[in-house]
């Protein structure tokens, strides 16, 4: 289980390639499910020029690790990875990556979905959008 809060841009596919390469259980996983969240250039009717992701260092890592551990308790998964961006981001930047390696696809999908839903509900991150005119805090997430 690996979690990472990243203050600079990251490429989700490179992270996945690197993580999978390091996975020692070669030949054991048959299914990988992953989710990548990317900053769009509009939200709730407004053009978004940039965004700042604030978080609570210490509590963030604790909750991301706990969410991975919970997923591993609920489903027979082999490994999980969460990478979350922090700081200044611009449209097309990756915000979050969740991935699960398992023997079969049912548990890979279920656990991957669990990681992103729990992360959105519990991990202490806050989005502050820079709009064309002004700025605003995002009040709530899109329902899953």
């Amino acid at each position: 289980m690996t979690i990472l809060v990243c203050n600079t841009p990251f490429d989700p596919w490179q992270e996945l390639a690197r993580h999978q390469q390091a996975l020692e259980q070669c030949g054991r996983y048959g299914a990988t499910a992953c989710f990548v969240g990317t900053l769009r250039d509009f939200n709730e009717g407004e053009t978004v020029a940039a965004m700042t992701l604030e978080h609570y260092p210490g509590m963030t890592e604790k909750y991301l690790s706990a969410i991975c551990a919970e997923a591993a308790q609920r489903w027979p998964i082999i490994d999980a990875l969460i990478v979350h961006r922090a700081g200044e981001v611009t449209p097309n930047d990756t915000l979050v990556l969740t991935a699960v390696w398992a023997a079969h696809r049912a548990e890979a999908f279920a656990a991957c979905r669990y990681l992103i839903e729990e992360l959105k509900t519990r991990a202490p991150f806050w989005k502050h959008e820079t709009l064309k005119a002004g700025a605003r805090w995002v009040e709530h997430n899109t329902p899953g």
Partner: protein, 76 residues
């Protein structure tokens, strides 16, 4: 001492990121809020954490604890 942290819109509203309050006596999270906010009511939707774990308003806080107040989270 008890460290009290604020995040996101609540940090802006408080005008500061952190307070330190004395810890002569144990008190609840609600009492910590009343003290740092000088009696202002608990904002709708405000969440609290004690030592990096979500906490409700009744949870007791002790010397050396870190309390945090923040709006609903919007990560991911």
């Amino acid at each position: 001492m008890i460290s009290v942290k604020y995040f996101a819109s609540l940090r802006e509203r408080m005008g500061r990121a952190e307070d330190r309050i004395d810890a002569m006596h144990a008190r609840s999270v609600a009492e910590v809020w009343a003290e740092v906010a000088r009696g202002a009511p608990w904002p709708a939707n405000m969440l609290a954490a004690v030592n990096h774990a979500y906490a409700n308003a009744q949870q007791q806080v002790y010397d050396g604890d870190e309390v945090a107040f923040f709006p609903p989270v919007t990560g991911g």
